[in-house]
Assembly symmetry: C2
Homo-oligomer: 418 residues x 2
Amino acid sequence: MKLEQTINELAKKAKIASTTLTALSTETKNSALATVADFLIMKKQHLQEENKKDLEAGAAKGLSVAMLDRLRLSDGVIDAMVKGLRELITLPDPVGSIENLAKRPNGIQVGRMRIPLGVIAMIYESRPNVTIDAAALCLKTGNAIILRGGSEAINSNIALAAILQQALNIHNIDGNAVQIIPVTDRLAINHLLTLEEDIDLVIPRGGEGLIRFVSQNSRIPVLKHYKGVCHLFVDKDADLEKTIPLVINSKTHRPGVCNAIEGLLIHRDVAEAFLPMIVQALTEAGVEMRGCPQSVKIASQIKPATEDDWGTEFLDLILCVKVVQGFDEAKQYIYRYGSKHTESIITENFTTAQRFISEIDASAVMVNASTRFNDGGQLGLGAEIGISTTKLHAYGPMGLEELTTRKFVVFGQGQVRE
Amino acid sequence: MKLEQTINELAKKAKIASTTLTALSTETKNSALATVADFLIMKKQHLQEENKKDLEAGAAKGLSVAMLDRLRLSDGVIDAMVKGLRELITLPDPVGSIENLAKRPNGIQVGRMRIPLGVIAMIYESRPNVTIDAAALCLKTGNAIILRGGSEAINSNIALAAILQQALNIHNIDGNAVQIIPVTDRLAINHLLTLEEDIDLVIPRGGEGLIRFVSQNSRIPVLKHYKGVCHLFVDKDADLEKTIPLVINSKTHRPGVCNAIEGLLIHRDVAEAFLPMIVQALTEAGVEMRGCPQSVKIASQIKPATEDDWGTEFLDLILCVKVVQGFDEAKQYIYRYGSKHTESIITENFTTAQRFISEIDASAVMVNASTRFNDGGQLGLGAEIGISTTKLHAYGPMGLEELTTRKFVVFGQGQVRE
């Protein structure tokens, strides 16, 4: 009961704060972001001391080296946060811009003004830098934010939230615009997800389990990204020389991220020519291949795939390989095993490229480009709060614009409806 | 169990059909819409016979005259459906257009292509014309639709759905793209709302009870519109002569709809001058006024309002009147009692107008215009499937564009990520 009341009050305060943020000038918001960056540098030692408590508790709890690594506020991580903030300051503020302002026959002018969403709840796992990144994006777009980080990062997150609060205070911005849930009890999330009156959007970031839990228990709209099962389709009209670096980059540039490919589809007409080339390049790059019978017959380094391999998000140097009979089989494979994240075709054929762009359903669909480009920075959004693989509101990387919505504005001279 | 299986299969078929709709040309979609219009005229007699069954059953069940009126497929209602279809044909098809296509520094071209949402479930009450209107908007935007009308309109809806199916067949469009739930059991809705894998969006249309039920039980995103509690704020710098027709139009043009005003806020500086004028005009128009003590003191025709009156959606010739101390009190009143639907200010003051436009949170915010303009047709959307008062995805009237989303498209020449 006490916990629920704490969460209720926190959400209510965030809602009230959110109504004051619309009136802030871009200058004020940018100044606050600059102060956050300055504080991160000034208070680095304190942050790292607080972070050390989390690291020690994590080590005692037996967290893996990889987990501890994600938890660490190293000099490099703090520098990256500062750099991110300074880049964010240079980006245009979408709030208040009016699009499509046009006159109707009766003389009223109708346009659509970009406005903040309101209050956003961010539920995430171990990386404490998300605390700063997410709060900064929300502040820039005039949204209040409620942060719920992983319990293993609680000391780091409280220290980071204190910096955010101080920066808001200095610039006379309501401190309730950025709030952290100070308790690690998981029931806090359950209750938070019922507060549809005060919270406008929930963004979970973390493993599939967390995201599924949030979306199944939330009465508030959720922007979610379950997983990235991405493919490259090598069409019969592919320029095979151009294809090799695209496959290698899409698979090995960072195999542990969501826009790396998990499957390679090859048109049967080029399988005999292309497979030996790409198998050699992938082998040199340390990639294990698991393929369909036809691919195994052509290149014996490919192991036979099991049914479980198709559609698996390996996040590792493992790649499924399948020879397909043509465009339609590739399309059906992607529909069945893809996760609507990123799909790319390699072809020089205009019509095939056009068909792929139109008919393949994914948040980013590409021709002759590495799937690694599906990222807010690479696509020109400047900053990103997550990648949506659901279609409502936003599909793909979410930047500043995706943290806003539009209301209609009408300028009249006394018109009434006939 | 049998019911659940029926619904599962129906949703699965809709999903598969939706993947074929993206490839349809605008010409094909428009031809199908024209055929639906032709059939409505040709089969009018049959439709009215089926509708008569519903009307008789409704009368036997004791439905009110107003309810029976909404249920009736009169000549006028059928004509309006035909007219709506012909107008829809003339509107531009948003699907496939690519916005913001621009080159990134590495030479890839990045744009955002409009695509259908996928499968939309429409849950509505008595008016059977919604069956045609909603199906037509979805077909034009390449979405599959699952229709669940009110049980009292079941015979009319089945007859209308048959017309839609025949039109699709003639134009070689997958008939599963438009489906009607053939059972009236309410459990069908409960189950439908769990099918998040196959249904992308739910749009409920009807009373507050239905909408609340859908949004509390759905795992699928819901676009909702609870109610319209709209206001006009007469600022101290209002042109009072201009104001009278705006108040009368906003209140009395169609008092039973959601964009009619329920409250009139008057700046204290003009209350003494304006109240006698507007009270006379409203009295002549048959409007009952319920007001704050200050308003009652100035104009004795105003009855004292009770606490329950503020924020009530009367949908009738009743209006709340409140004298406010200034802009801030008006803003707070709207925040507390408004429903984020439509808010309008009457003022000649530039700065006050700018503040109102920026700071008031509603799906449509107006200056010197009747609230009755918050309507898809009036605002230039051409057609409307509903009005959203929640901010995710769409806020305000939803036209064709709001039935689509955008995916990223990337055109490369072999670029990889460094």
